[in-house]
Symmetry: none
Subunit: 253 residues, 2 copies
């Protein structure tokens, strides 16, 4: 085993990684920095890379698994390990482990969801692309076609709101949003809570989604924010009661 360098911890909030693991991190960093490796490149096979670095394969695997956790590499069984460019979409476990330790209540989760979605919507006014608009229009159409159905309606609703967040082109907000909302849309009761029962209410729900899209198309930040916040008020009480009983069990699945 080669001597480790006397470098400081990778992060002031994490203890110093073991020497073998750190050597792998450092090696890969240098490879990227020197452009010897670029995003998409396949790393040498584990056995070869471990020998090259003078560490054992389990040590190399530890390091690679950790890098996979943050999306820096993608490990594919039988195919090899590829260098990836981390983005916050890879941080689902980070956010879920963080939130699991606070036992959030349903209303709070909705508030955080609102926070993230409204901020992403603001960004979307500046950043949304033609592709985003296409996606959102298709999502509105999907809502129109499924507004009275529990399963499909909830899926279409989620797709619309997720597309809106994606249009903000902020990976951290998108990752947070996914963590916060994915469990929501999986609960039966939440799905029922998003399903209007009267024709009048159905029409209103469809129109509201159109109003959101219109404000975005016009890139009107304040109107979009207002329309969206009012959108969330609708059905809030009904939804909250439904969610409370199921929210905590979902993050462990």
């Amino acid at each position: 085993m080669p001597a480790t360098r006397g470098s400081k911890p990778a992060s002031s909030s994490r203890p110093r990684d073991a020497g073998g693991v750190r050597l792998v991190y450092d090696f890969l960093r240098e490879q990227i920095l020197s452009k010897s490796l670029v995003t998409g490149d396949r790393l040498p096979p584990e056995r070869d890379l471990a020998a090259q670095l003078g560490v054992s394969r389990p040590v190399l695997r530890e390091a690679l698994r950790a890098l996979a956790m943050i999306g820096a590499v993608e490990i594919r069984h039988g195919a090899g390990t590829v260098l990836r460019r981390p983005d916050a979409a890879a941080l689902g476990d980070f956010f879920s482990f963080a939130m699991l330790q606070d036992a959030p209540v349903a209303e709070d989760v909705m508030q955080a969801r609102i926070a993230v979605e409204c901020q992403a919507a603001r960004l979307a006014c500046a950043r949304a692309t033609a592709t985003d608009f296409t996606t959102l229009r298709a999502a509105v159409e999907a809502i129109e076609g499924t507004v009275g159905e529990v399963e499909a309606g909830a899926r279409a609703d989620h797709a619309f709101h997720s597309a809106l967040v994606q249009a903000g082109h902020s990976p951290v907000l998108a990752a947070l949003y996914a963590t916060l909302t994915e469990p929501l849309y999986r609960t039966h009761v939440f799905r029922r809570g998003t399903t209007p029962s009267t024709d009048e209410f159905k029409a209103y729900v469809i129109d509201d989604h159109k109003r959101i899209l219109t404000a975005l198309v016009e890139r009107n930040v304040e109107r979009l924010d207002a329309v969206l916040r009012r959108h969330f008020v609708i059905g809030d009480e009904f939804r909250e009661q439904a969610i409370q009983r199921e929210i905590l069990s979902m993050w462990s699945a």
Copy 2:
């Protein structure tokens, strides 16, 4: 090796983790969710935990190393492995690998911070108590007394904003805020970035914090939102540039 469950990936941007590793993640998630394990608890020794879960020690170590990468556990040689609550300070490697490949992450974290703080501020207009107001007034006074100092000024600034978020009485928002921001205030450059240099600017910063508090006292949601958002614009570019430079040098070791 026990059969793995047919669950989907923890994050949609990462391929499915290998079965053994996933089993460890799931186990720990459940332990946390059920309060069998709380932050600060020491996990069983590797040999014992591996046997308990029916995986080999190298597999357990892979999983733990990955969790250590996001700050969910702290591994100490000779002492044991402790459960930690992840916060962004643990993501040094994430940021460094991301930035080495030109991923624009710092601005995103700030956007998430803004989302959370503004939503918490909205809630605070309805929920702030007399104690909250007392805390916030003291925080403003502390800002007045330290506005030209790098360390103390940053601490006072952070205390004010944290108190504002706390006044929203939303544990999820408060936790997210802590997760996203506490590490920032630890960097020297961020602190310098929040330290006004001219008397005029100092007075403006003090007044802006007072305006925020006034809007809250009047429980004026829209004014508070507007004042706060404008507050964030000030110094944003300076801060971002400073953070990006600092992150590379500080975390890449």
